[in-house]
Symmetry: C2
Subunit: 225 residues, 2 copies
DNA sequence: TGGAATTTTGCGGGGTACGAATATTTGCGT
DNA sequence: ACGCAAATATTCGTACCCCGCAAAATTCCA
């Protein structure tokens, strides 16, 4: 195998020194890529810098990631994977929407400034907003969402006893959920008078579960949430 | 302005010679990129080849597109734009879901082999399937879907008289729709006993509009759609 | 402990993206 | 019709990126 290859590289698989080091290097590289990008902007970060930051040779960087963008997005993929994992772990008794909501809240909304007492660090969050807007990264972010969708599809299929190969249902749910989470996250980050993540999420999922009913507007006013 | 820049470059804007030539060059480049990629695979296409195919200098290619991937995806973006446009053009009387369904069918399902009498050309369609799977392109494809989502968001907001800045509703609808269309397209392309596009689409939208109800499975079998 | 499996690394080559300067084409006023 | 100004295309040069290859270093396990 060639280091970062797609083999059974899953986060918690092997326990040998080898596997652990590989995972550590991978995380270190991804983390370095993120930090440098937030601080200087993607264009001013060379792969060489990232490698140096993680303490490996430049060539090794490309053994793990095919490019800067992929390295930055690796974190999001990991988070998505954890959400799917959490969904599988929810008790069978929970209705699907409740389980999904809880899974997202459990694994996604952790460590967010409004919810935790972290130091928001204006400089950092501003940089993050810039990073999320980088055109060269958005493709990879969407791609990450695609991976998450795939994992959620499997989890939903399992949970509802549906055959994802035959029915569209699990994939439709997964697509709607990832889409909604994306929307919610953007709103959450951009909200100027900050809004609790959970509130936005429940609102969004509520609309989805209700079939996205068209808000009948009376005369001139839009209805308020 | 520098050729392919983001200015008011919209498909049907200016009518001068300048604007037209620009649009023609752009389409020629995108089309060339697609054709060569389908025939040889993305890795065996140099930007130089694409430029040559379109009859411009290599440097000019990069004045229009930031890379091969973007050039290939340009077509999809255009299609998405047309769907949003069609949605705006649907009569106000149509309920939202119906209007969306019609808009998609009108502008998306055109020229599909099963529906039209085109020559399927096995060689070509096989190449297309390969292209759609190219990892280096998927990011850009997702990005294209993102652009479409944005356009749909505006169209839905207009149509339902909702303020997309305040309410999540239009964006949620747009996200769910683009997600569903993606799922449907994949199924349609992969279906071995071919299935009509319209059938899949109505099924998917039906489930969305119904709130994606969890199919209560009885004992051992999944329910059929 | 010793060899097998795996990973890291340096090197080299083919390409890509883009800034700057220059040439060319188009739009438009007179 | 002419010629100037603006927009666009081209040429050239540079920095960087991605990856194949094969040698060196590390880890595994019997």
């Amino acid at each position: 195998m060639n280091a970062g290859d797609a083999g059974e590289d899953r986060a918690g698989s092997g326990s040998g020194l080898r596997e652990r080091k590989k995972r550590e290097t991978r995380t270190a590289l991804s983390w370095a890529a993120i930090r440098l990008t937030v601080e200087r902007g993607l264009a001013n970060v060379r792969t060489e810098d990232i490698a140096a930051e993680a303490g490996v040779s430049p060539r090794t960087f490309n053994n793990y990631f095919s490019g800067k963008a992929e390295a930055v997005a690796a974190r999001q993929i990991e988070r998505g994977r954890q959400i799917a994992e959490e969904l599988r772990a929810r008790p069978e008794s929970e209705p699907l929407w409740e389980a999904v909501t809880n899974a997202v809240l459990e694994r996604f909304a952790l460590g967010l400034p409004t919810d935790a007492g972290k130091a928001p660090d204006e400089h950092w969050t501003a940089g993050v907003r810039v990073m999320l807007g980088e055109p060269a990264l958005q493709g990879e972010f969407f791609k990450a969402a695609g991976v998450t969708k795939a994992e959620l599809t499997r989890a939903v299929a399992e949970r509802t006893g549906t055959d994802a190969g035959r029915e569209m249902y699990p994939e439709l749910v997964a697509a709607a959920v990832t889409g909604a989470v994306t929307v919610v996250s953007e709103r959450y980050v951009a909200a100027d008078p900050p809004v609790p993540f959970e509130e936005l999420l429940r609102d969004a999922f509520g609309q989805l579960a209700a079939g996205l009913p068209e808000p009948r507007r009376k005369k001139g006013r839009g209805s308020s949430a």
